[in-house]
Symmetry: C2
Subunit: 676 residues, 2 copies
């Protein structure tokens, strides 16, 4: 094939160095360059290349294997790197609007108004450094119970920000530990007469930008080392009657007049809350992409390792790559497929979010806009758990699949796992978020039951539910593995599963209420066995559906259809197989064959994909400099790279500084010695 067909100029997608991975690369069923172009597009490939090259050529971003930096040094480096990235100014404002995918994750939600523009200018000039102070020592998920107060004093036209006690100290705030000069502090807004209007955001200066010393009345500090993400200084703050001007209130959701009257563009608290769903969703959608990025790197490392690590074989003389073992394929290839499926989903959900935010920005108050907000909220609230957990489990599997070498810090699987871990927690604990999604679906069903409403949503993710009585009559009718190797099989099963779980959850909830449970109790009792699997099955279905449609669209180059179809089928069937007990229980599956066919199909797809695995990794893996894992380098020289990296570490061959202690003051072991 001509290089233009394959993937444009080789400067953009250079050839990989020859080496032990050649054999797998030669066996791939498709051109990795063609898939890279199809998946990313030339513009994005160019954009990434610009960034990666700039960083690779900048000594500030040099990798130092085995560097044992103190927390303080690591944070200093991180601060300087952030600053430098600002200076590089990779993305212009015009670019942001033209190609929203490029700012994925950097969207800054502004809850203020024009009077706060000066802050934004200072932020961009790095004259001030902000942080977002919502959670407190004793409250996270239940934000309504946040206890910091902001009392308005009309005499001076100021708010008085106050922490009633240490349990109400702001806690876990990113950048607050050492760096931030200003905080967006969420506090209960109270106007004279003790009228309180719930949580509102206030800009509060916490440190002097010249000296980084705390402002009067502010006790601010660092919460200490975390399991990961230690480049970030999470902090705490207690406010002792700190006065800030009236204009410090970020007043998009509500404002206070100079005289002390509360005014809001929203009629009630509920509506105000609804309007803020969009900003909650954007955080969660960003986390989906962060999680998938972590999984991408881990899978790339583990699969290149597996294609070059040889252990055992058909004879004592011949050892084969561990990727040839069905066990290793089954452990890793579903996560490779998950990367492709979830990455596509994450991008598509981000574009939906952009649509939502454009509507918000243009003041769209249509019913469709509100429905879109609710649908995206439901999808984001379940896809964040799905992506963060899939990544958590996937990285763990990758770590174990690389054996001892996966446990060596320089190979980077540990840091990926540690950095991914908070994705399961922040912006809402995964299990709590899933309630948002199951509640959304239950609300739609109640609306249908009581009002005869149709299941319709702007993104059509719930439209299939209209046919739910018919879907519930369906059965699994695939009897051969060959007929099962398609994501359409999983799609049909997932639709049945969501209908089944929705009906069961609805019935169980009503039954609990009829037997005297309060709404609170009833929901709690139904969540483990019903609401949770419902929310997960629904979002898995949506991911499977979107990827299925993506890989079956006419614009897919013919040479990529087979491999993409297999990825889609593998992710779908593997995910589905975790619900096999429910499929049997509800009667969609019956007999021994159904379960066997599903299991065999997953293994067959793994086997079909194993020769494509290295090329599929080549598409998603960043350059070696970014991947930064000796066992995962593109040249596949596993042992040379690992050995070289070990020998480059500081003090590798040196004695420990404490060597003299080894030989002095030998203890005399009492009873053991006397008995030998």
């Amino acid at each position: 094939m001509a290089s233009t067909v394959e993937g444009g100029d080789t400067a953009l997608l250079p050839e990989f160095p020859r080496g032990p991975l050649d054999a797998y690369r030669a066996r791939a069923s498709f051109s990795w360059k063609e898939l890279a172009l199809f998946t990313e597009g030339e513009g994005m490939l160019r954009f990434k290349k610009t960034i990666f090259s700039a960083l690779e050529n900048d000594p500030l971003f040099a990798r130092s294997p085995g560097a044992d930096l103190s927390l303080e040094k690591y944070r200093e480096l991180n601060f300087l790197r952030c600053k430098r990235i600002f200076e590089y100014d990779f993305l212009s404002v015009e670019d942001m609007f033209k190609s929203p995918l490029k700012v994925f994750g950097s969207a800054v939600y502004s809850s203020g108004s024009e009077r706060h523009l000066t802050y934004i200018q200072k932020i961009f000039r790095m004259e001030i450094f902000g942080c977002f102070a919502l959670t407190e020592l004793s409250h996270g998920s239940n934000t309504k119970a946040i206890r910091t107060t902001a009392h308005y004093d009309p005499a001076t036209e100021e708010f008085i920000i106050h922490s009633p006690d240490f349990e109400a100290a702001k806690f876990w705030v990113g950048n607050m530990g050492k760096t931030a000069t200003h905080a967006v502090v969420f506090a209960k807004l109270c106007v004279p007469g003790d009228q309180c209007h719930g949580l509102h955001p206030f800009i509060v200066q916490i440190r002097d930008p010249k000296t980084l010393l705390p402002m009067p009345g502010v006790m601010v500090g660092d919460i200490g080392k975390k399991l990961g993400q230690n480049g970030l200084d999470n902090g705490f703050a207690m406010f002792h009657k700190v006065r800030v001007p009236r204009q410090s209130l970020l007043n998009r959701m509500g404002d206070v007049t100079p005289e002390g009257t509360y005014v809001s563009p929203f009629k009630d608290v509920r509506q105000r809350f609804g309007a803020s769903l969009g900003s909650l969703s954007s955080g969660r959608v960003s986390i989906v992409s962060l999680a998938i990025l972590n999984l991408k790197l881990a899978v790339a490392i583990a699969l290149r390792f597996s294609a070059t690590r040889r252990q055992f074989g058909p004879t004592e003389e011949e050892e084969i790559p561990v990727l040839e073992y069905p066990m290793q394929q089954w452990r890793l290839l579903p996560y490779l497929a998950a990367v492709y499926a979830l990455d596509h989903f994450s991008k598509s959900l981000f574009l939906d979010l952009v649509e939502l935010q454009r509507g918000l920005a243009s003041g769209d108050r249509s019913a469709r806009q509100a429905e879109l907000g609710r649908e995206i909220h439901a999808l984001a609230s379940a896809s964040k758990p799905l992506a963060s957990w899939t990544t958590q489990q996937g990285i763990q599997e990758c770590r174990e699949a690389c054996g001892g070498h996966g446990y060596l810090a320089m190979n980077r699987l540990g840091v990926l796992r540690d950095d991914n871990d908070p994705n399961c927690t922040y912006e809402g604990d995964n299990n709590i978020l899933l309630q948002q999604t199951s509640n959304y679906l239950l609300g739609l069903l109640a609306h249908q039951v009581h009002d005869g409403a149709c299941f319709r949503s702007p993104l059509k993710s719930v439209d299939f539910l209209d046919a739910y009585p018919g879907i519930l009559d369906q059965k699994f009718e695939v009897s051969s593995v060959a007929d099962c190797l398609d994501s359409a099989v999983a799609l049909a099963a997932y639709k049945w599963l969501v209908c089944y779980l929705l009906r069961e959850t609805y019935q169980k909830l009503n039954q609990e209420k009829r037997s005297g449970s309060s709404d609170f109790e009833a929901r709690n009792k139904c969540q483990v066995s019903h609401g949770r699997p419902l929310a997960l099955a629904f979002v898995e279905l949506t991911v499977v559906q979107r990827f299925h449609e993506h890989v079956h669209q006419p614009s897919v180059p013919p040479s990529l259809r087979a491999v993409l179809g297999r990825l889609s089928a593998l992710y779908a069937l593997w995910s589905l197989s975790r619900h096999a007990a429910l499929l049997y229980r509800g009667g969609y599956f019956s007999g021994e064959q159904a379960g066997e066919v599903l299991e065999s199909a997953v293994l067959a797809l793994c086997s079909q994909l194993k020769d494509d695995a290295v090329a599929l990794v080549d598409v998603i893996a960043p350059p070696d400099f970014v991947l930064d894992s000796p066992i995962g380098r593109a040249d596949g020289e596993l042992y040379k790279n690992l050995w070289g990296a070990v020998l480059q570490e500081s003090k590798v061959l040196e004695r420990a500084s404490w060597w003299p202690e080894f030989s002095v003051n030998k203890p005399v072991i009492g009873s053991l010695k006397s008995k030998l």
Copy 2:
């Protein structure tokens, strides 16, 4: 109840400080002291107390919250602590033999003979420091492919230890990085005429004990930072024709005469290999106990946190402990039950191992002794994966169940997870080890099919298989949740499951072979879907069986029977529920009710145990000094302890040392700035 009945003197089991955990402690259905005495015995409680008190009063073991030690400083501290523990000499040799449980994990396998006694004396005097050098850079699991050589030279009566290239460098060897002076090096023993006799262990001096400098011909160094266990210096070594005396061969399994003739007490290599199974088992059995210890600590932290952390509630005013939510119970209580069940199993398997080792020491070469070795090998090879994975997943769940605070390093869930992680890998990768167990069971079935042999094993773990055709006809016949709340229900189901999987695996293996697969291929093709679940189900059954018998024995105090029965039932049914799809597939389950009953029984047991959870934790948790987690302290003062620990950290309120960089050299943002 009198204090003597409840748990002897209060000095041994002191009361807990009053505080927020009182409410749960008061609601417990049993006396935690009585259970502690029943579970551990007074002697063990005293022994632990002696050790814990000694360490708590020794400044060398002081906890320093938030200490940011360099790798080198951390290792120095660790070295000094090891030395001090030697000096304490907690356990006499007599005690070791009288009460083998006390040396759990410290058993040192000796593969040498009397001529090596002098080394052991020096080890106990800490004049030399040893390490165990088996794995190489390119070989771990496949030990037969180890490439280091030991050629015997009769002219000088020496062995020449040699690494052919860097891929054959010894790698991952614990203590080798900085500390060890001597290594037990596994190398291929070759006598003149190039006759090679497989791997043998040699004692090789690698460093000078006075200077800790490497010996001539030895290149030895540190492999670098790991994900955890960084107190230990794992290292590498390459040997360049290093000559060691003939007596350096640890000659229990084979020896070389001064003239160069190889002699062995074993007739063939296979028999020699069989004799070494015992030593492999002892490593694995130790890992089971290490893993469970990690899970014990994690569960203690997460449950005390859950009993004191309040979030949301039935009304906006009232918040309830998160332990009251069925979701939190379901996430954590099965792991609490797992601690009890697996801890009992681990101790009982260790006692079986002691029996095996006594037989080896006394020269028992009976068929029973050989069978015992095989049975323990099969149990150890599957219980190490079960325990390490259960702990891995359990700690992760505990981390997430503690929300953000679980992600703070000082609360210790991260270090427990990181330290547990290699348990999944060393002494045999979990997935590879499971093959040993499935092969053992398949071998027994083949013996029965071909020779009509009965299923009989010294520990009786396979005896039930004799009735396997009858068992396979059984069905699940429990129709109410109330009837399901017993581990006997799970036991019956597990027996069916093991029989089903054994038959299916055997048939699938034979079918693969008939269709032309080699033995190697056939086993690889059957492992994922058959061999792996078979091995896991078998060991789960054994764990459930032993704990079921333990809690139903007549010596259990009546007041403890209910809670122990619930723990046994919860662990059993929860473990079983992960196999629900197989139970349906094979026809043991049918209809919607079976799966529902199982799921509801797990939730019902969680609910029954939640008021006992804190007291159950009080039994297994070590003193606060050892547990070392602000959110898990026995007084339950969650926020006071956490806040106090954060404020004790060094530099908590200080500016970062790099603060001047914050305000100098402000970058000028090009396009962004110009557009604002």
